[in-house]
């Protein structure tokens, strides 16, 4: 599903964020990408959504080589990968329903289709009773659920969660991780990027640890051991 072959990324400033990383993530897997801040985890996420291009190596997603992806193909790629971030990235002036619908609106889906899909996703993330609420009326955990719901709007095969629990307390963190596990059960490949030790250790799933831009370890049932 996700394949990185000898990928390196060096920024114009001279910083080498990622060094010769090789990874293979199978369809339907739940993988935690762990490491301290600045080890290159977010750069890998940026390369997966074509926000950055690798300096060396090759990236293949579901058989699609995106290493030198053309500009007009980037939106298509981004509809196949759902991404959530630590800061939720919600539109404050839109309701929960509108935030999720926005992802489909900008892709040109008809209103009828949007009205069909959005309630289903909101039910999946447990927010069907909050669809008329605005983000500021929700807790951090609920806001992250909205963000996940929006990421799922295109029914992506891959969901990347970049530090999704960074702004949440332990109860909300648990709820979000449970939601990611639930989504993974529906055969969606989930890549959890985190440096939360407790979360990683509780999952007992595959853990890829990074240090200084390189893969330090890759274990099937790993623990956070840096």
């Amino acid at each position: 599903m996700i394949e990185l072959r000898n990928v390196s990324k060096k920024y114009s400033t001279g910083t080498e964020a990622v060094r010769d990383v090789t990874l293979h993530i199978k369809p339907g897997e739940f993988v935690s990408l762990v490491g301290q801040s600045g080890v290159g985890k977010s750069t890998i996420v940026k390369m997966l959504v074509a926000e950055e291009k690798p300096t060396k190596g090759k990236i293949v997603l579901g058989g699609w080589d995106i290493t030198r992806i053309r500009t007009h193909d980037i939106p298509l790629l981004r509809r196949q990968i759902g991404v959530v971030f630590q800061d939720f990235k919600l539109l404050e002036q839109k309701t929960v329903y509108e935030n999720v619908a926005f992802a489909l609106e900008v892709a040109g889906y008809p209103k009828k289709h949007i009205e069909e899909i959005v309630p289903q996703i909101l039910t999946l993330v447990g927010l069907s009773d909050k669809k008329e609420s605005f983000p500021e009326q929700l807790s951090g955990g609920q806001q992250q659920r909205v963000s996940i719901a929006r990421a799922l709007a295109h029914r992506p095969k891959i969901l990347i969660a970049d530090e999704p629990t960074g702004n949440l307390d332990s109860i909300n963190t648990r709820e979000i991780i449970d939601l990611l596990l639930k989504i993974n059960k529906y055969k969606t490949t989930v890549m959890l990027v985190t440096h939360n030790r407790d979360v990683v250790n509780s999952l007992r799933k595959r853990v890829i640890a990074m240090e200084d831009g390189r893969v330090l370890s890759d274990k099937e049932r790993g623990r956070y051991a840096l």
Binding site: V49, T71, H72, I74, P75, L76, L77, R78, R79, V83, K89, L91, F102, A103, E105, V106, A107, G108, Y109, P110, K111, R150, A151, A153, H154
Partner: protein, 305 residues
């Protein structure tokens, strides 16, 4: 799908416009000022044409004959002149008509009336007034008349004076046009910079929304088009606002302005009403193109897709 996307793009463009209403108003004010300078330039051209044409209409060549020349001889010459293709019209004023006209003009002047009575013969001869199709053709016509060797025929040519006047008007209006062009160019440049800055501010204000659009896979044109449409809105609304202001000003000041143009028979209100669609279209196209170019340059510089 295209129509749905287009509707949403229009909606986003309207949101951009409304959410930055004061910035939008400031931008439109600059565009309206640009339109004032453009319209002035158009009017200078039109008034210059009216003035030149009105002088050209008064230009003619008159051939005065002595009172010995018979009307038959003048008639033959009139026929000959009518054969010259550059001549539009030849008007034959007989000696009798010339005398009647003179008497009418000096009715009540006892000295002149007494002098005329003393004269045994009509002192006036016939006159042929020649009008050309184009004022430029008079020298050619005069050349052909000279070739006819008319002998005692007296000539009076008044087109040379007019030509000098036309030349002076053209020189003056050329200078005015150059000045107008410079002013318009300055205003267009200011409008370009203003729209550029407005779009840049728009991109900054909507950076979060744009980031989310990119994140969820919006097409590049879906992100860019609202900014281009916003530029078109500015052009359209500014043109409408300008013409409303223009017609209000013409309603109140039109009659006063027209007093400057009574000599050349130009009515600014009538002209603006009759040519409203042409001038509106011309100005809208110029401003729309300028705005779109500004928006494209601003996006190229500040909008990362």
């Amino acid at each position: 799908m295209f129509l749905i996307s287009f509707k949403r793009i229009v909606k986003f463009a309207c949101q951009h416009f409304v959410r930055n209403v004061w910035l939008s108003i400031a931008t439109m004010t600059i565009i309206v000022l640009t339109l004032f300078s453009l319209t002035t330039l158009v009017l200078v051209n039109v008034v210059a044409d009216y003035a030149t044409n009105s002088i050209k209409d008064t230009v003619d060549v008159a051939l005065y004959f002595d009172n010995e020349t018979t009307e038959e001889a003048v008639g033959i010459l009139e026929e000959e002149l009518n054969k010259i293709e550059e001549i539009k019209e030849v008007q034959h004023i007989t000696a009798e008509e010339a005398l009647e006209k003179f008497k009418k003009e000096h009715e009540g002047d006892e000295a002149i009336e007494a002098t005329l009575l003393e004269l045994e013969k009509n002192p006036f001869g016939a006159t042929l007034v020649i009008e050309a199709h184009d004022v430029e053709q008079y020298p050619l016509i005069m050349g052909k008349i000279e070739e006819m060797k008319l002998g005692d025929v007296a000539e009076e040519i008044d087109y040379e004076d007019h030509q000098l006047l036309i030349k002076r008007i053209n020189q003056f209006t050329d200078k005015l046009k150059s000045f107008g062009l410079i002013i318009s160019a300055i205003f267009i440049l200011v409008a370009v910079l203003t729209v550029f800055n407005t779009v840049r501010m728009g991109i900054y204000i909507h950076r979060r929304e744009i980031g989310i659009m990119r994140l969820v896979g919006a097409n590049n044109w879906f992100i860019r088009l609202p900014f281009i449409l916003e530029g078109l809105f500015y052009a359209l609304l500014s043109c409408i606002a300008f013409w409303i202001i223009m017609f209000v000003l013409l309603h109140f000041f039109g009659p006063k302005i027209n007093t400057f143009f009574t000599e050349i028979n130009f009515n600014i209100g009538e002209y603006m009403r009759a040519n409203f669609l042409n001038i509106f279209g011309f100005e809208f196209i110029i401003i729309a193109v300028v705005n779109m170019i500004s928006a494209l340059v601003a996006m190229g510089r500040y909008l990362r897709i």
